[in-house]
């Protein structure tokens, strides 16, 4: 052995270490690959040795080689070996290598689970830290599931270094194992209050990242974050929080209002640019969310814009960039405030930095108006000419088109100008966006009827221009424009000045060099043009033109018939035959013009891009159903002969086409017309059968079609857009003058305009004065009848963040517990006695326990969970080494109900988002707050009967369902392990008993406080756990009248013992304003905090509610007296307790006992227990048959233990408590509860 060791270290002398490897690589520049492969061979040798130091060294070198691009996955197992070394040095190397090359597909990862778990629980914090860091890079769904609980435990580690890493890695765990989010969230939330700033910032980080994807679920944290924001001095945390608020405000406008002030203060005060920038950003988000119908925040906007201007004018390019970025956000909602900085933006367009220019371009998009569009585009065109580098030029091009076409060409007043711009853009060399230009041309020509004449002329020039053809070889994209040009010329051929010339241009031999789909369009539209020529010449005595053009087609088309492109070939041969036929007819002097034109008749309408998607699926149509029986697999062999047969038949069928009778043809044409009518860019096909269309008439008397150009100016040759700018200005001036003179005329004009154009009512008022040059009719896009109005964008189902969209406020179900290894000794039972350790409890969501005491059903569920847990422990104990029993994940150490209250130090109000929000907005919001009342209740007022509010009903329904399922499961298990249940406590018997019992009646803890004809007050009184001397009274005010109730003031006559907590500065007899108003029929809840000194005696406080009743015409001052009754039970707080702790408590000498007997109680025992638990805040410790022990604790820490026995309608309650008068009073109250019922 010793010899081996020596040998090992001798070997190592000759090993290269990382530095040697690097040096070697650097000195072998020429034959690096060869050198490295020899190194890899060495490494392989090293990995075969037993010495872990050698292995670690080898792995370290591999990590370097991985960076150079070498695959090292073959060494994965060795990496795992090094990871499991006990020395930190090697472990670190192993984890680093793993984090560089492991991924979901690495199969050895599953070997690491135990090793990582061991490292996570290592006493050395750096072992743990290294493991966490490594895990963060290669966590897989399996690892996440298996280790989630361990990591969660680490979130409460004593070392902040570990805590912050554990908190941060939770985000990765959530992503891989979304089920862990809900159980872990309460713990995560706790970490927001961590004393260590690093941990706090990590928690903020994770929650921000989560909230970014699913902000809605995190709204309830807003008060907490608000507190953090106002208290934190760490800029990093501040930025994160402010960022988070930016995501939250769109969902909750009230939040925005609350934020504006602190944020503006920050903007004014901070010197850190980054913070300033984030503040501005969030203020922008707030303003966006408030933009509808809220009081004017122009001051804030001005402040933002002003600050941003400073950023943009800064010499630092980064600030400039960010300033522009933020500016573009303001632009969306407040374009006017940005438009005044147009100079700045235009200036940025000249910046040498491309990123900045691009940002400025984005801004321009929103700055255009009818007034300045031409001017801005002109400037951009200059840039296009100057721009070097095609990427930027392409970007400019798309921006120009975007700007012009935005919101349905809203800002274009002169479409001739726009067409000229498009034509100018075609002259750009090497652009990738030919297709874009083409589609714009088509769009404009189809949708703006008045422009067609002009467009056709321009397009004809384009077609005539050979430069585009010449360029087609290298710059494929730009020739797409010809596609549009050909189509427009063909489709609107009636506007052509010289159709024959254009026809000739379209059939030049050079066209054959264009891409196939363009050639096809050329041919098709040549046919259309031909039809137009025929039609145009009809009626004229001279039929030479017609014959010439037919001859032209016959001469030129054969070239295309030989085309390699099938589409081109087919169309060419069809049309060639057609033309030959027509020529024959022409020789016979038959008029064919009309008939040929009829081939292409029909108006095209633009169709909305989403139209197809919006067609509703008719009832009864199942798109997924098979129309025919799905082919069986054996059929595939038969397919061949079938195909052959079909092909043959097709060949036979072809000649028959000519013989199809005329009626059929007419019908088909009709159908086709219909189809074409729905498709704007439909390229009209002419089936060969058209050849047989013989219904021709004389060729004489061809009427000359007048080309009706609505264009005032005919621009010969290529147009230049610049002159439009001048023209436009002149026109506007003229118009302005005219308007001044003739008011009436203008009115007429407007009427006319509004009749024709449907879209001119948009745009700001000042711009409406600018009348468009043309009476442009932008045809609105067609949508199918009864189109579905849903405009929801489908979300990507593969989005990993979607799985994290879960309701965090819902109580946790059994099945959601994180799986835990059974043999881990984490299941030490916690009880209220050891409060100090509550922090260590791995995963009890507060929310859950809170809700659980809500009603009895919950109670049942709770004990069920407990039972399940125990069951698992039994199983675990039985099992060898505690391997998890197959199938089901083992429930975690159910550390049971944590105290229901939040561990935060925040005052009660602050922990409740709705209350928090509504408290600032006393006016006009009551409606909204009412809707939100379910919010506050789960927080504090836990005991509301299912009937009293919708949310509650829903959740209990949900639970019932779950319970049913559980029941079956439960039953099976019970049988299986009945034998083991006795050794611990008899709780199973409770469970079994409850299962068969009927459901509990609904219960409500809200009792009537006072009522008159205007208002009804019900209240619930709860102790406040965080503060032993505080009691929270939740009062629901209900407006019973038909008038508006406002200025409600709540006042109570304080006693020596109990005082209403009033805001600082108010006198001891002042009333508290209720933070809302009540419209008729609405109810809302408010909370009041009382401080009490002694809780051993019940208290009664006299109080008054004063309010103003506001009817339509008058308002009266009213008041309502009430008596607030603080029972001793209301000082008790449902606290879970385990039987062993309970037994200890009873044994201890400091509890004094008493007992009480209730006669003639006719309730079933479980109802009775439920009532005690519900109304007096006890929890069942255990129950055996008709005997149960209950426990509760007062807000000042008194233990109250009850033993309830039930026999023959008589209930005996033996009770023990460390404060006898409190106990006496509680028992009195219990007695009263049952005497009432």
């Amino acid at each position: 052995m010793a010899l081996k060791m020596v040998k090992g270290s001798i070997d190592r002398i000759f090993d290269k270490n990382l530095q040697d490897l690097v040096r070697g690589v650097r000195s072998h520049r020429e034959d690096e690959a060869k050198y490295i492969s020899s190194c890899i061979d060495e490494i392989k040798q090293e990995l075969k040795q037993d010495n872990i130091a050698v292995k670690a060294n080898a792995v370290c070198k591999l990590t370097y080689l991985q960076m150079l691009g070498y695959d090292i996955s073959w060494a994965a197992f060795n990496i795992v070996e090094v990871m499991s070394s006990s020395k930190f040095t090697y472990k670190r190397i192993g984890y680093l290598a793993a984090s560089q090359c492991f991924h979901d597909g690495t199969d050895v990862i599953m070997l690491t689970t135990n090793q990582i778990r061991k490292d996570l629980s290592s006493p050395n914090q750096y072992d743990t830290g290294v493991a966490l860091t490594g895990l963060s890079c290669f966590v897989t769904p399996d690892l996440a599931r298996d280790l989630a609980n361990d990591i969660m435990t680490l979130m409460s580690h004593t070392k902040p270094y570990i805590r912050k890493k554990a908190v941060l890695i939770m985000y990765k765990v959530f992503l891989k194992y979304p089920e862990s989010l809900r159980p872990a969230f309460p713990r995560l939330k706790e970490k927001l209050d961590d004393p260590d700033p690093g941990v706090q910032s990590a928690a903020v980080n994770v929650i921000c990242e989560l909230a970014r994807r699913n902000p809605r679920n995190y709204l309830s944290l807003a008060p907490l974050f608000f507190k953090l924001m106002t208290s934190s001095t760490n800029n990093w945390v501040l930025i994160k929080i402010i960022k988070l608020f930016g995501a939250l405000t769109p969902l909750e406008p009230r939040l925005g209002k609350k934020l504006i002030e602190p944020l503006t203060n920050l903007i004014h005060s901070t010197s850190a640019m980054s913070l300033l920038y984030e503040c501005v950003n969030t203020v922008i988000a707030v303003l966006i969310s408030l933009s509808s119908g809220m009081p004017n925040h122009s001051a804030s906007i001005q402040l933002c814009v002003q600050k941003l201007r400073i950023l943009i004018e800064d010499s630092d390019q980064n600030l400039k960039y960010l300033g522009l970025l933020a500016m573009s956000k303001i632009l969306k909602t407040h374009p006017k405030s940005v438009q005044s900085h147009k100079d700045l933006v235009l200036q940025c367009l000249d910046d040498k930095d491309e990123s900045i220019r691009l940002r400025a371009l984005d801004l321009l998009y929103g700055m255009v108006s009818k007034k300045n569009l031409m001017e801005i585009v002109k400037k951009l065109m200059v840039h296009v000419d100057k721009a070097e580098g095609t990427t930027y030029r392409d970007e400019l091009l798309t921006k120009i088109i975007d700007i012009c076409s935005q919101s349905n060409y809203q800002y274009i007043t002169n479409f001739e100008w726009y067409i000229s711009i498009l034509v100018e853009l075609t002259r750009l060399e090497g652009t990738r966006h030919g297709h874009l230009i083409a589609s714009q041309m088509l769009d404009v020509a189809v949708r703006v009827k008045a422009i067609r004449g002009f467009a056709v002329v321009q397009m004809a020039t384009l077609l005539d221009n050979t430069t585009l053809l010449a360029g087609s070889g290298q710059h494929k994209s730009i020739c797409e424009v010809l596609y549009a040009a050909a189509w427009i010329c063909g489709e609107f051929s009636e506007h052509l000045e010289d159709p024959v010339h254009t026809l000739e241009a379209m059939l030049r031999p050079k066209v054959a060099t264009l891409p196939g789909h363009i050639q096809a369009i050329y041919i098709q539209n040549a046919a259309k043009l031909f039809a137009a020529v025929l039609n145009g010449q009809q009626g004229t005595p001279d039929c030479q033109t017609m014959q010439e053009s037919s001859q032209l087609l016959i001469d030129r088309l054969p070239l295309f018939v030989q085309s390699a492109d099938l589409e081109v070939q087919e169309r060419a041969s069809c049309i060639l035959q057609l033309v030959k036929f027509i020529q024959k007819l022409q020789h016979k002097e038959v008029e064919v013009g009309e008939e040929v034109t009829a081939l292409f008749a029909g108006e095209l309408n633009p169709v909305a891009p989403k139209a197809q998607k919006k067609v509703p699926v008719p009832d009864g149509l199942d798109l997924d159903a098979w129309i025919n029986e799905p082919p069986s697999e054996s059929e595939s062999e038969d397919e061949k002969p079938v195909a052959v047969f079909a092909e043959e038949e097709l060949r036979h069928a072809r000649p028959h086409h000519t013989e199809v009778d005329e009626k059929e043809l007419a019908r088909r044409r009709e159908a086709r017309k219909q189809e074409q009518a729905n498709n704007p860019f439909y390229i009209k096909a002419s089936p060969t059968s058209q050849k047989g269309y013989q219904d021709s008439t004389g060729v004489e008397h061809i009427p000359v079609v007048q080309i009706d150009l609505s264009v005032p100016l005919k621009v010969p040759g290529m147009s230049t857009s610049d002159k439009y700018l001048k023209l436009e200005e002149e026109r506007r001036q003229r118009e302005r003058k005219e308007r001044g003179k003739k008011e009436k005329k203008k009115k007429k004009k407007r009427e006319k305009r509004s009749g024709m154009g449907r879209r001119h009512d948009s745009g700001p008022e000042s711009e409406e004065d600018i009348a468009p040059a043309h009476m442009v009719d932008i045809v609105t896009e067609e949508m199918p009848e009864n189109a579905l109005s849903s405009d929801d964008d489908e979300k990507d189902p593969n989005d990993p963040y979607r799985a994290l969209d879960v309701d965090l406020d819902k109580p946790l179900a059994d099945s959601e517990k994180l799986p835990v290894r059974a043999h881990r000794p984490t299941n030490i039972l916690k009880s209220p006695a050891d409060d100090g350790e509550v922090q260590e409890v791995p995963k009890e969501p507060k929310k859950k326990s809170k809700k659980e005491k809500r009603d009895k059903e919950e109670e049942r569920k709770k004990s069920k969970e407990e039972k399940q847990r125990r069951k698992h422990h039994h199983e675990a104990r039985k099992g060898p080494e505690g391997g998890p029993p197959t199938g089901e994940p083992i429930q975690s150490s159910y550390n049971a109900e944590l105290e229901p209250a939040l561990p935060t130090a925040a005052p009660v109000e602050a922990s409740d988002p709705d209350f928090w929000l509504s408290s600032t907005l006393l006016s006009s919001k009551s409606q909204e707050t009412t809707e939100a009342t379910p919010g506050p209740i789960p927080e504090k007022a836990a005991d509301v009967g299912p009937g009293s509010e919708p949310e509650n009903t829903k959740s209990s329904k949900h639970k019932k369902k779950k319970q049913k399922k559980d029941k079956e499961k439960e039953e099976k298990k019970r049988k299986k392990q009945h034998g083991h249940s006795g050794d611990r406590e008899g709780e199973e018997s409770v469970q079994n008993g409850t299962l068969e019992e009927e459901p509990l009646p609904p219960m409500s803890n809200y009792s009537l406080l006072a009522e008159n004809s205007y208002v009804k007050m019900v209240c619930d009184i709860q102790g406040n756990l965080q503060n032993g001397s505080q009691v929270v009274v939740s009062i629901i005010f209900e407006n019973k009248s038909t008038s508006f109730l406002k200025s409600m003031e709540f006042n109570v006559l304080d006693s020596l013992n109990s005082k209403l907590q009033r805001p600082e500065g108010s006198g001891p007899h002042d009333g508290l304003t209720v933070p809302f108003q009540l419209p008729p029929g609405v109810s809302n809840e408010a909370r009041f905090i009382f401080s009490v000194q002694s809780i051993v005696m019940p208290q009664r406080l006299k109080g008054t509610l004063t309010f103003i009743v506001k009817a339509d015409d008058s308002s009266t001052h009213e008041k309502l007296d009430f008596k607030l009754h603080f029972t001793c039970s209301s000082y008790l707080i449902t606290t879970p307790c385990y039987s062993d702790t309970f037994a200890k408590l009873l044994e201890s000498a400091d509890l004094k006992g008493t007992s009480v007997r209730l006669q003639e109680v006719s309730l079933p025992f479980h109802h009775l227990l439920a009532k005690i638990c519900f109304h007096h805040h006890f929890s069942v410790v255990e129950r055996i048959d008709s005997c149960a022990s209950l426990y509760s604790r007062s807000i000042q820490g008194h233990h109250v233990c009850l033993l309830v026995k039930y026999a023959h309608q008589t209930v005996t309650i033996d009770a023990k408590c460390d404060e006898s008068s409190l106990l006496g009073n509680v028992l009195e109250e219990i007695k009263k509860t049952f005497s009432q019922s």
Binding site: L18, Q19, V206, W236, A247, L319
Partner: protein
């Protein structure tokens, strides 16, 4: 979230790569090449944000980089989905500050860091980075805290005897002697460039 951190020199040679999302090795190299191509053609006095590029997450990411003497520090950061576009640039600016933290920490740990430190101690740079960024999220921004943790861990390594014990060092010293001269003078004098206006962090 940070998707990747790349450090390469003026010639595009990688000095440290750290991906927080899995890419196969050849893809990683391609990303480095493309990123280098994008970054290297930019002037020094333009802004440090770059959009476009197609490799990591398509157009959904931004490059934020700094150029220090011979080295480029590049962070690939995802811009959030368009509807949450508000957030992305915040990410941007925070990362920007954070990069300074990282570089300054390197400087402290290596005492005037230069490219050679990164070349020969890639592992150490990784360990430092691990204290700053974890799994694509910023772990710590307090430089003193980072340096303290890094030093504590180094001390621990030393107490364990380090990776290569004395004999190996001796040998490598010998090997070192007949090597072509190692350019020791590439010290980055201005590594402490203050980020204007983004100061108090």
């Amino acid at each position: 979230m940070i998707k990747a951190i790349l450090i390469f020199n003026n010639h595009g040679k990688p000095r440290l790569i750290r991906f927080y999302q899995y890419f196969a090795e050849d893809m990683q190299q391609q990303i480095i090449r493309e990123t280098f191509h994008l970054v290297s053609k930019r002037d020094d006095n333009v802004c440090n944000f770059l959009e476009g590029g197609s490799l990591i997450g398509g157009s959904d990411y931004k490059l934020i980089y700094r150029h220090y003497a011979t080295l480029y520090f590049v962070f690939c950061v995802d811009s959030s989905e368009s509807e949450l576009g508000i957030l992305d640039l915040i990410q941007v600016s925070t990362i920007y500050i954070f990069m300074t933290v990282f570089v300054e920490t390197l400087d402290k740990c290596f005492e005037n860091v230069c490219e050679l430190d990164l070349i020969f101690h890639m592992d150490k740079v990784h360990y430092i980075l691990q204290e700053v960024v974890m799994g694509g999220m910023v772990l710590e921004t307090n430089m003193n805290e980072i340096v303290a943790q890094v030093e504590l861990q180094n001390r621990m390594e030393k107490s364990e005897g380090g990776l290569s014990a004395a004999p190996a060092r001796a040998v490598s010293a010998v090997k070192n002697m007949n090597l072509p001269e190692i350019p020791r003078n590439i010290n980055i004098g201005d590594i402490n460039i203050k980020v204007p206006n983004l100061s108090p962090f």
